[in-house]
């Protein structure tokens, strides 16, 4: 019963996106160029930013913090690959959370003045983070192939497509959820900021899960994003699925987030105008 209403809302949401896909595409194009419009290099910055960041990380982890992360058993790749395979999804998650929360509130004019498929507002905020992550990923894959001499390639080919789908779904649901919650809970943005500040440390990104005291280890497993990061590390670093549970849990969260986000968005979107 409850499930059918959720499924219905989800279907409604997906349909709205599908029907307006051309508009979504135009909005995404605009979203990507928005930050750099009337800049000399314009869309070029979309590539320069992640590349510079990746090079900085590479320099830091190979030249400055060499001793901190060295040998990780069970992988042909080096520590840099491990670190980046956690950092890249985390950057995407944090960018989506930060932007999508403002996606509805920041477009109050459109919400109030136009008959417009509002679902597109949070969804289009995925574009920037995905672009950033995509460029970083290409960099990392190139580096990983070089370091491992190509042995990790099958993992990329088999693992990446499903993982990208799972991640997209999770983030889309999250964007819908945060986008509409922010309308009613204005403090949300601050909670998100706090979470993002500590997020790099409470997720197993810069360390291995078993490298921290057992007493605080459950914290890692409280966050749904830890499992997603495990999955990314499986594909990009280990080159194999070492443990099936992160995949199952991530998939479950993807479905949960998306259905919950779609449901709440569809139910509340008619009331946005009253609160903006």
């Amino acid at each position: 019963m409850v499930l059918t209403t959720y499924a219905k809302s989800t279907g409604e949401c997906i349909r709205a996106i599908a029907v307006h896909r051309r508009l979504l595409l135009a909005l995404i194009k605009r979203e990507l160029s928005d930050e750099y419009v009337s800049h000399g290099l314009s869309i070029g910055w979309t590539f320069i930013h992640p590349l510079v960041l990746m090079l900085v990380y590479l320099f830091l982890f190979t030249e400055v913090f060499v001793t901190r992360v060295t040998v990780i058993p069970g992988s042909g790749a080096d520590a840099v690959v491990y670190l980046l395979s956690g950092i890249i999804p985390w950057l995407a998650i944090s960018q989506v959370m930060g932007r999508s929360a403002m996606s509805v509130v920041g477009n109050s004019a459109i919400v109030k003045q136009m008959s417009f498929p509002l679902e597109l507002l949070p969804i289009k905020t995925l574009a920037g983070p995905f672009m950033f992550a995509g460029v970083s990923l290409v960099f990392l894959i190139a580096y990983g192939l070089w370091v491992t001499g190509g042995t990790i390639l099958p993992a990329y080919l088999l693992g990446l497509p499903p993982l990208i789908i799972i991640t997209s779904m999770q983030l889309a649901g999250l964007a819908l959820l945060l986008g509409c919650l922010q309308v009613f809970v204005r403090d949300l943005k601050e909670f998100i900021n706090v979470f993002l500040t500590i997020g790099l440390f409470i997720h197993p990104i810069l360390y291995l899960p078993n490298a921290i005291p057992a007493a605080v280890r459950p914290i890692i497993y409280l966050s749904p994003f830890s499992y997603l990061i495990f999955c990314w590390q499986d594909v990009l670093f280990y080159g194999e699925v070492g443990w099936i549970w992160p995949w199952v849990i991530s998939t479950a969260f993807a479905v949960l987030f998306f259905m919950l986000g779609a449901r709440i968005f569809v139910v509340t979107k008619n009331h946005f105008g009253d609160f903006l």
């Binding site: 051309r22 508009l23 135009a26 909005l27 605009r30 928005d34 419009v37 009337s38 004019a109 459109i110 919400v111 109030k112 003045q113 136009m114 008959s115 417009f116 309308v183 009613f184 809970v185 204005r186 403090d187 008619n270 009331h271 105008g273 009253d274 609160f275």
Partner: protein
């Protein structure tokens, strides 16, 4: 207003026009939450955590396809909320909204425009956001730019445009959308005069193309020009619904009243209404002459049912799109001034000097043989309604009161029909109501407004100085005695320089003092006169008195 083709076609085909918009007792109350989070508390617990702010209450409205509805009302009356509910950007708290077809809402110009992008990019994206297909955008793009007149600068960043250019482009882009229902909120007030005219024409075209349109404006003129029906929203309710001119007139009057209130002037209270009513009943009792024609029937406020065509009893030159096209196209008998000439007798203290009440039957049948005076006898309910309507059109301080107004032509006959170029005399009888003595005697202010659109075409004011002030001498008499209880002001307009047509006449008495602003008594568009053509009819409203001579001429030898 010209009926839109769809309705006419539908009428010809003998089937009722399709309903495009239907609002069934729609109410909107904004829920005010002290904290937005209370919305969730409410959703979760089912307990109420909000206060209601009612914006619209029980609005029922049915619009047929092709109908052009104007919405007027003061700020905060709920006009925009209503539009947003129909546009679907707000959900009603109660009631049902049915809108058939695609809706294009122009609630605010320039939504979604980014100043950093070029005009081209902005037009394309905003058109897409308004639901246009890419093909349609490509097809219409040149037309949009041409309409805005920005061909030369369309690729430059939007922020380099002047605000007028920005508004023009936004308007052009917004109105290019194909839609079945078009909603426009105050979009005409931008741009220079030329653009304003052009955008009005654009909206006109759109309205003619058969879409159903809703149109909010503070300018009654626009509403009257564009709409086939007007509703007046006041305090979230439909105050009046019907013929554009009637509704706009009532609205305009109320706005004047509000202005008067702001300026601290007293208004006629209910007692005055009652007095008027009694007097009118008593004066029309003998029925010596046919009483005035009934005025246009106003539609009842509730429009749950489809609107029944209202026959045009008054014979005003108007085409009601609902009415079958059986109406004669030529000008019929004018609605002989709601209450007719001089029917405004009130108060037992007036001294009616001469003539008495003159009825429309005194209209010279020879000079106006195309006029058929065919009026039913007045009945009680009509008097009742008439005096109610009369009462709302009066702004008074209670110091003086206009007791009677008479219009007469060159022969001295009381009439409301005049010929262009001939003299017109206006005689205003007033009485003093207050016991205290005013500082000045009374002056007169008269405005003629064209019936079609309320444009004021002629105004004069006896208390403002004009070089050869003939009129002034008329009321020096009133100055002579401060004990006067009543008096008369006569003004002669000779020649009558407004062209053929029908005009409302507003009459006010005020302190006879230059730049006097406050009326002792003011009757807004209370009288209606008709001016007949005399000689050639010119497409203008005012004909100046011109003297000319032929200068020296050269002749070929």
């Amino acid at each position: 207003m010209i009926a839109s083709p769809t309705i006419m076609q539908a009428l010809e085909l003998g089937r009722p026009p399709e309903i495009a918009i239907c609002l069934d007792s729609v109410s909107k109350a904004y829920k005010l939450y002290d904290r937005p989070f209370n919305f969730f508390k409410e959703a979760l617990t089912g307990r109420s955590y909000h206060r209601d702010k009612v914006v619209l209450s029980d609005i029922s409205l049915t619009l047929k396809r092709g109908e052009i509805l104007g919405i007027i009302g003061r700020n905060g009356a709920g006009k925009s909320t209503l539009l947003k509910i129909i546009a679907g950007t707000l959900a009603p708290s109660q009631g049902a909204v049915t809108v058939k077809g695609r809706v294009a809402a122009i609630l605010e110009l320039g939504t979604g425009f980014n100043p950093n992008y070029s005009g081209r990019d902005n037009v394309i994206l905003s058109a897409l956001m308004r639901g246009m297909s890419e093909d349609a955008v490509r097809r219409k793009f040149d037309g949009i730019v041409a309409f805005a007149g920005l061909e030369d600068v369309i690729d430059e960043p939007f922020h380099t445009y002047s605000s007028g250019m920005q508004a023009r482009l936004a308007f052009a882009a917004a109105t290019a959308v194909d839609a079945d229902v078009l909603i426009i909120d105050e979009a005409l007030s931008s741009g220079d005069l030329r653009f304003a005219a052009r955008s009005l024409r654009r909206i006109h075209e759109i309205c003619q193309s058969g879409v159903t349109a809703l149109f909010v404006s503070h300018v009654p003129y626009h509403v009257m020009q564009l709409c086939s029906r007007v509703i007046w929203i006041d305090d979230g309710r439909i105050r009046m619904d019907g013929d554009p001119i009637e509704v706009a007139r009532a609205y305009e009057y109320e706005m004047l009243q509000a202005v008067a209130r702001d300026e601290g002037r007293v208004l006629t209270g209910p007692s005055a209404v009652k007095a008027t009513q009694e007097i009118e009943t008593s004066t029309s009792a003998p029925h010596q002459a046919p009483p005035p024609a009934p005025h246009r029937p106003l539609r009842p406020v509730s429009t749950d049912a489809p609107i029944v065509p209202t026959p045009d009893v008054g014979g005003v030159i108007k085409t009601d799109p609902d009415a079958p096209a059986t109406q004669p196209s030529n000008i019929e008998a004018i609605d002989p001034i709601e209450e007719n000439v001089g029917a405004e007798a009130a108060g037992d203290t007036i001294q009616v000097s001469t003539g008495g009440v003159v009825e429309a039957s005194t209209v010279d049948q020879d000079s106006v043989n195309d006029v058929s005076v065919d009026e039913p006898l007045v009945n009680g309910s009509e008097i009742q309604e008439r005096s109610e309507r009369a009462s709302i059109r009066r702004v008074s301080t209670g110091l003086y009161r206009i007791s009677k107004v008479q219009f007469s032509d060159k022969t001295g006959r009381h009439t409301n029909i005049f010929k262009f170029g001939e003299p017109m005399q206006i005689e205003v009888l007033y009485e003093r109501l207050a016991s205290e003595l005013p500082g000045q005697s009374c002056g007169l202010a008269v405005t003629f407004s064209r019936v079609d659109d309320f444009a004021a075409v002629m105004h004069f004011n006896t208390s403002d100085v004009y070089s050869n002030e003939q009129i002034r001498s008329y009321f020096n008499k009133a100055l002579e005695s401060r004990l006067i209880r009543a008096g008369t002001i006569e003004a002669i307009i000779e020649p009558l320089q407004i062209r053929a047509g029908e005009y409302y006449v507003s009459i006010g008495i005020l302190a006879d003092q230059s730049q006097a602003q406050e009326f002792y008594d003011y009757l807004h568009c209370r009288y209606r006169i008709k001016v007949l053509a005399n000689g050639f009819d010119e497409p203008c409203v005012f004909y100046p008195v011109v003297q000319w001579t032929n200068g020296p001429i050269k002749v070929v030898k």
